[in-house]
């Protein structure tokens, strides 16, 4: 029984990082209707940028913030230069997915061409372990959970309380109508991609911190659990992504605790496939959102 509770604790910790990434992914899809598979490679880039700073004695949390900003900007540029023009031209959604997958591969191999395939690490995770209700978490993991909750709360507040947020939601649900209301959808898109890119960057550094050692395949490996989490909760719904992250994380760790550890990954895959085939709008997706997912 104690193993189960411990596993749930580990699941919450990994779920927090998954959720952080999933929310950003979800926002990108909600805003631009694009499944941006390059997201994983951007997380890898974030991890390496973080490494660059931490090796020069930057505080890891400062590095996380700075990397978030950098990846946010990079995401805006990426969307503006590559994805938005393709969408404008009426490229099929499938081709755009292929473009994002290819761009992810290019970015990943550019990174490895520059820094090499060796294992990297941020170093020993100092800090005590926290024992809470039978779960064991490190101080770093607790910080990340808190950070994930805070960032998601912040996103929620932005989306519901600010004008920008309302403009973002309007653009996401009906771009043309939003334009006719006078919303500058281009700038609003940029803002959404910046925010989601920042979450991507933060998630990348957070992942590198929790995973202790990593190489250039970091983001690619983490991508599917994130997409599973995003879809599970309902793509376009930040709170849904948080729940999805928890579900994927906990399910994975429980499976690893009781059966073949290889199946931890398979759990995320299965969740994704089952949700897409059975209830594509996810747990909290509105019925109208489901229509967007059907052919």
């Amino acid at each position: 029984m104690s193993l189960l509770i411990e596993a749930i604790g580990f699941g919450i910790a990994s779920g927090a990082v998954i959720a952080l990434g999933a929310v950003g992914f979800s926002v990108q899809f909600g805003m631009s209707n694009i499944l941006n598979i390059t997201y994983g490679a951007f997380m890898t880039l974030a991890a390496y940028l973080g490494l660059f700073m931490i090796d020069r004695n930057t505080n890891p949390w400062v590095a996380l913030a700075v990397t978030g900003v950098v990846i946010g900007l990079a995401s805006v540029v990426y969307h503006r230069l590559l994805l938005a023009p393709l969408v404008r031209r009426g490229t099929r959604a499938f081709s755009i997915v292929i473009v994002t997958v290819s761009a992810g591969i290019v970015l990943q191999y550019v990174i490895v061409a520059i820094v090499g395939p060796d294992t990297q690490t941020y170093g020993e995770q100092s800090g005590n372990t926290v024992h809470f209700l039978g779960m064991i978490l490190t101080a770093g993991q607790v910080t990340i959970i808190a950070l994930a909750v805070a960032l998601m709360l912040a996103l929620h507040l932005i989306l519901t309380r600010t004008t920008l947020g309302k403009a973002m939601r309007a653009t996401a649900s009906n771009r043309i109508l939003a334009q006719s209301c006078g919303i500058d959808t281009g700038r609003v898109s940029d803002a959404a991609w910046f925010l989601s890119g920042a979450l991507c960057g933060a998630a990348g550094v957070a992942l590198a911190i929790t995973t202790v050692s990593f190489d250039f395949t970091l983001g690619a490996v983490f991508l599917i659990p994130m997409i599973a989490a995003a879809v599970f909760g309902g793509i376009g719904q930040p709170y849904g992504a948080m729940l999805g992250g928890l579900a994927v994380g906990v399910a994975g760790e429980v499976v690893a605790a009781y059966s073949n550890p290889e199946y931890r990954e398979v759990v995320a895959f299965l969740i994704l496939i089952v949700i897409l085939l059975v209830r594509p709008r996810g747990l909290f997706g509105a019925a109208w959102a489901a229509r967007r997912l059907m052919a």
Binding site: A7, G123, T217, P261
Partner: protein, 402 residues
């Protein structure tokens, strides 16, 4: 007798990309050391020897075109070393059918019985290594063993040997886990291992997996880590660096034992080898630790043996000099014992017969061209170099396997 003109190419067929990419540069090191010495002594019958890297990518399908292309386009491709675990099944037949003698460094049990005429292996197979881990753990008094292996051919190959040996040594396997490579967290697996309360971990995994797993272990076990017995494959800066950065140098130097092929570090052969590694700028940094590892030393000995066999045969062409290779190692009456290429070449030139005793000592090849040898346990020093702390007789290991 066919002759060739120009320099000879020595192929290093190893992964330079893919999941095992660190092995490429590790296996290139003995090549540089051996060829530096050979060329300084005037080459093989006047031919200089150059190292040619051949990337087998870790993908058995992609390896085939790369290796055949290298064989097709490299001039005087007369020797090879490497042929690593993941791709050996598809690359060994190619090199063999191209009549290029090669000393391989993989431990695949599939080659324990084989009929490849040009194949030679001076280091033990993975299951023998596994049994050696078990013997060492038993020698140190560890009874309850946790066996944790990464899912992959090199690590999985250890398992039959471990399973056979531990019970015979009156130990018990408290838990046997196969873990995925390079995962972002092993917390749940670690929790299971902690619950089994092992005295020691018998371990085989790449540096990234090890660092993450041990970090998780330390966090979940109140900072305590059990001792670890692993393979000398991990006797590299790639392993020492991340793992000590993550769990501290103290644990790495006191509690990690790396078991593998024995090399006597007091012999002139070893000193020559190590000096050559230190002298070459490409290998200088990894020399202190690499010199203690079996497979690269086996490659070094193999290169010397092949070069000397070429002189004995009077030609550099593989199909002609291949039959002299085993003879180079054999003790014979009236033979001059040599420890390096330069001495061997001089003795042969003066008309003597020679016996090459290299870094791994005198091998005893069986009918499959495999020679297992003795085993030794190493530990890391604080600067990342290695030192030997005990030996394990090869005969004991082989008995446990049968």
């Amino acid at each position: 007798m066919p002759t060739q003109t120009g320099p000879i190419s020595l192929g290093v067929i190893a992964p330079f990309t893919g999941p095992a990419a660190e092995f490429g540069k590790l296996l290139s090191a003995p090549c540089y050391a051996a060829t530096d010495l050979i060329n300084a002594a005037g080459g093989v019958m006047g031919h200089q020897v150059n190292c040619a890297s051949v990337d087998d990518t870790g993908d058995p399908a992609d390896a085939v075109p790369n290796v055949t292309k290298a064989i097709a386009t490299t001039t005087n491709f007369d020797m090879a070393v490497g042929l690593e675990s993941n791709t050996a099944e598809t690359t060994v037949p190619i090199v063999n059918s191209s009549k290029i003698p090669f000393f391989t460094t993989n431990g695949n049990t599939s080659f324990t019985k084989n009929s490849y005429a040009y194949y030679y292996r001076l280091t033990a197979s993975d299951d023998a290594n596994g049994a050696a881990f078990a013997v060492w753990a038993s020698q140190k008094g560890f009874k309850k063993v946790a066996v944790i292996l990464q899912n992959g051919i090199g690590s999985e190959g250890n398992l039959p040997g471990i399973n056979a040996a531990v019970p015979k040594l009156n130990g018990s396997i408290a838990i046997n886990l196969t873990i995925p490579a390079d995962a972002s967290s092993y917390s749940s697996e670690v929790a299971r291992v902690i619950a089994a309360q092992p005295d020691v971990l018998i371990w085989s995994a790449d540096p990234q997996t090890t660092a993450t797993f041990m970090a998780n272990y330390k966090q979940l076990n109140n900072g305590q880590l059990p001792p670890m017995v692993t393979a000398t494959d991990s006797l590299t800066p790639d392993f020492f660096g991340p793992v000590s950065k993550v769990v501290g140098v103290d644990y790495v130097t006191h509690d990690i034992y790396l078991v593998g092929s024995f090399l006597d570090q007091s012999t002139p052969a070893f000193n020559t080898y190590k000096a050559a590694l230190l002298a070459d700028s490409k290998t200088h940094d990894i020399a202190p630790v690499l010199a203690a590892v079996g497979p690269p030393a086996g490659a070094y000995d193999g290169i010397n043996a092949m070069a000397l066999a070429m002189i004995e045969a009077g030609t550099t062409v593989g199909s002609y000099y291949n039959k002299y290779i085993i003879d180079v190692f054999k003790p014979k009456a009236g033979a001059v014992v040599v420890n390096n290429f330069a001495d061997g070449a001089a003795a042969l030139k003066a008309g003597h017969t020679i016996q090459y005793v290299g870094v791994l000592g005198t091998p005893s090849f069986d009918a499959n061209h495999n020679s297992a040898g003795e085993f030794v346990a190493n530990v890391f020093a604080a600067d990342g170099s290695a030192s030997q702390v005990g030996t394990i007789p090869g005969s004991q290991v082989l008995k446990l396997l049968s």
